[in-house]
């Protein structure tokens, strides 16, 4: 079984199509692996392949873990919040429907920061997800469950959402590939809204080829989402062998940014790798990117405060018992249903949109956004890609940043500018580094951003770089691990009942 789980989604798909792999047996092996979840990665799991609105008749694609932000007909959908406890949507999100139609069984729904607000998965109402590399550390967020599931051998691949880094950062902290496509590439119908001008769906995979395969399934215009446009054409599988003729731009102020020395070392080694593969490394100027966090933490909460107005205890989810009038019922339901971070952002957003402050905050932030988008446009006149570390640090300890919301927000420093500019960006694992507070080495992500709708070019370059880097370390218990590359062999042996492979 370990061998089965060691296959990438692409390898499994090819074997199923060729009739060399029994699709039902393969899906069942993954269901057993998912049943051994010790990371709190799943909020709901499909226990069997019996009749269900989301069942797949003839599976031919690897089963998938779905972030609990996607509506799935008849299956609990909470967005990590108490306020949606018990909610079973009457319809399925387009992204999930496309995966089901392509032949991918749904393994389960993954844990997340409440309404996708967070960078550590500690804002979930259902408890934090643990990082499979070190269970005392966070997996990143907000799509922490999807990232941990793929990295920890509980799913072959997964989907998540990225508003300011929520795919790329957890992918980096868990040592896997995470892609945020161009805004509009994938339908968001049925994807519970956080900040509508930024939210985008994307894949978590073990490698770049799997990301291309999943993007080909997911992308496309959807009559149910007026902001969806799809890609110029579906991506094909990347096969580029080198980076010759491609220019990679490093933001010129990167040297002055504060981030972990271990992350810096891996980043610089990766730049050297790019050059050894024939690529050119230049510096580019993104003068307004430093204001990305400020603009983002006005725009995202403002849009969230509007989007989350719908949770009022009337049509779905929980209602707090109250003896007063309907207004009191709203206030009590929202007070009991929302967690601290969601309340904080609703308050921040309500303030930023309130009369007298709108221009100074939301209006000004939207202008900064224009400048950041323009910065990227002129950078892409000079280079093919902009590259940065994905996250300023490796995975940090559970509880380390929860007391200081601003320090948590600053984690998104490298990922937010691309979200504001709407351009695609991928994080690939680039190496291991020791955390600043000591302990075993943890994965470091390398972020590559490309012009809007240039996913094909982005995936090709990421693929060539991935082959050049040859990152093959895996956390304990994850399939595809070789004893020499497993950093935690001792703990690995203690791990039982995961069904996710034992290091073979």
């Amino acid at each position: 079984m370990t061998e089965l789980l060691a296959l990438t989604a692409l390898e499994a798909h090819r074997a199923m199509v060729a009739g060399e792999l029994d699709a039902g047996e393969y899906a069942d092996a993954w269901r057993r692996a998912a049943a051994g979840d010790e990371l709190n990665a799943y909020l709901w799991r499909d226990e069997d392949s019996g009749p269900s609105p989301i069942a797949v008749e003839r599976p031919s694609v690897a089963p998938i873990a779905v972030k609990d932000i996607f509506c799935t007909e008849g299956v609990p959908t909470t967005a990590g919040s108490r306020i949606l406890e018990g909610y079973r949507p009457p319809y399925t999100a387009t992204a999930v429907r496309k995966l089901i139609e392509a032949g991918a069984p749904i393994l389960g729904k993954t844990n997340m920061d409440e309404f996708a607000m967070g960078s550590s998965n500690e804002n979930s109402a259902y408890g934090p997800v643990l990082n499979p590399w070190d269970r005392e550390r966070v997996p990143g967020g907000s799509s922490g469950g999807s990232a941990a599931a793929v990295a920890g051998g509980l799913a072959p691949w997964a989907i998540g959402t990225d508003t300011g880094g929520s795919i790329r950062q957890p992918a980096a902290l868990c040592g896997i590939v995470g892609l945020k496509p161009t805004y509009g590439a994938i339908s968001r119908y049925g994807m519970i809204a956080f900040a509508s001008s930024l939210d985008q769906c994307g894949p978590f995979t073990r490698d770049v080829s799997d990301a291309a395969l999943m993007l080909a399934i997911l992308q496309g215009q959807d009559p149910c989402d007026s902001t969806s446009v799809g890609l110029p054409k579906p991506p094909s599988l990347p096969d580029r062998e080198n980076l010759s003729g491609l220019r990679f731009g490093v933001p010129e102020d990167l040297a002055s940014q504060v981030f972990d020395s271990g992350v810096r070392d891996v980043f610089e080694a990766t730049l050297k790798k790019i050059e050894s593969l024939g690529g050119e490394v230049d510096t580019v100027s993104l003068p307004h990117a430093e204001h990305g966090i400020s603009a983002y933490y006005v725009i995202a909460p403002a849009e969230a405060s509007s989007n989350l107005a719908r949770y009022d205890g009337v049509r779905y989810g929980m209602r707090a018992p109250s003896s007063g009038d309907v207004i009191e019922m709203y206030e009590q339901t929202r007070a009991q249903g929302f967690g601290a971070e969601v309340k904080r952002r609703i308050m921040l957003g309500t303030y930023a949109l309130s009369s007298g402050y709108y221009e100074a905050y939301y209006g000004q932030a939207q202008k900064v956004r224009t400048k950041i988008a323009a910065d990227f446009k002129s950078a892409f006149d000079q280079v093919d890609f902009v590259v940065t570390p994905t996250s300023p640090s490796v995975a940090f300890k559970l509880g380390e940043k929860t007391a200081d919301p601003l320090s948590m927000y600053l984690n998104d420093f490298f990922t937010v500018p691309m979200s504001l500019a709407g351009v695609p960006a991928i994080s690939i694992p680039a190496g291991l580094a020791q955390p600043n507070d000591g302990g075993p080495e943890l994965p470091v992500g390398f972020q590559i951003a490309a012009p809007a709708f240039a996913e094909q070019k982005l995936l090709s370059a990421a693929y060539a770089l991935e082959q050049g880097i040859g990152f093959d370390a895996r956390p304990p218990g994850a399939p595809g691990v070789s004893p020499s590359s497993a950093p935690y062999t001792a703990r690995d042996q203690k791990r039982t009942g995961s069904g996710g492979g034992d290091g073979g």
Partner: protein, 87 residues
Amino acid sequence: MAKLARLGLSEEEVERMAGELSGILEHVDRIAELDLNDVEPTSHVVELENVLRADVPHESLAPEVALASAPDPAEGAFRVPSPQAEE
């Protein structure tokens, strides 16, 4: 502000949040100093024209399906407390 957001916050929450929000706003206020008078705001990054579909009737959710997740459905509708509850 909590009233405006329909959030019933406790005294303690209000106090804690006031401190946290001022810290965040202090950081955010850095963009207030930028001179962006001539810059157009961006509300949507991809250039798109709004399109309307043809106004053709199609099937929608059956009432019992739409009400299935409601906390207090009654007589084919969503029941809520009176807007003017007795004190």
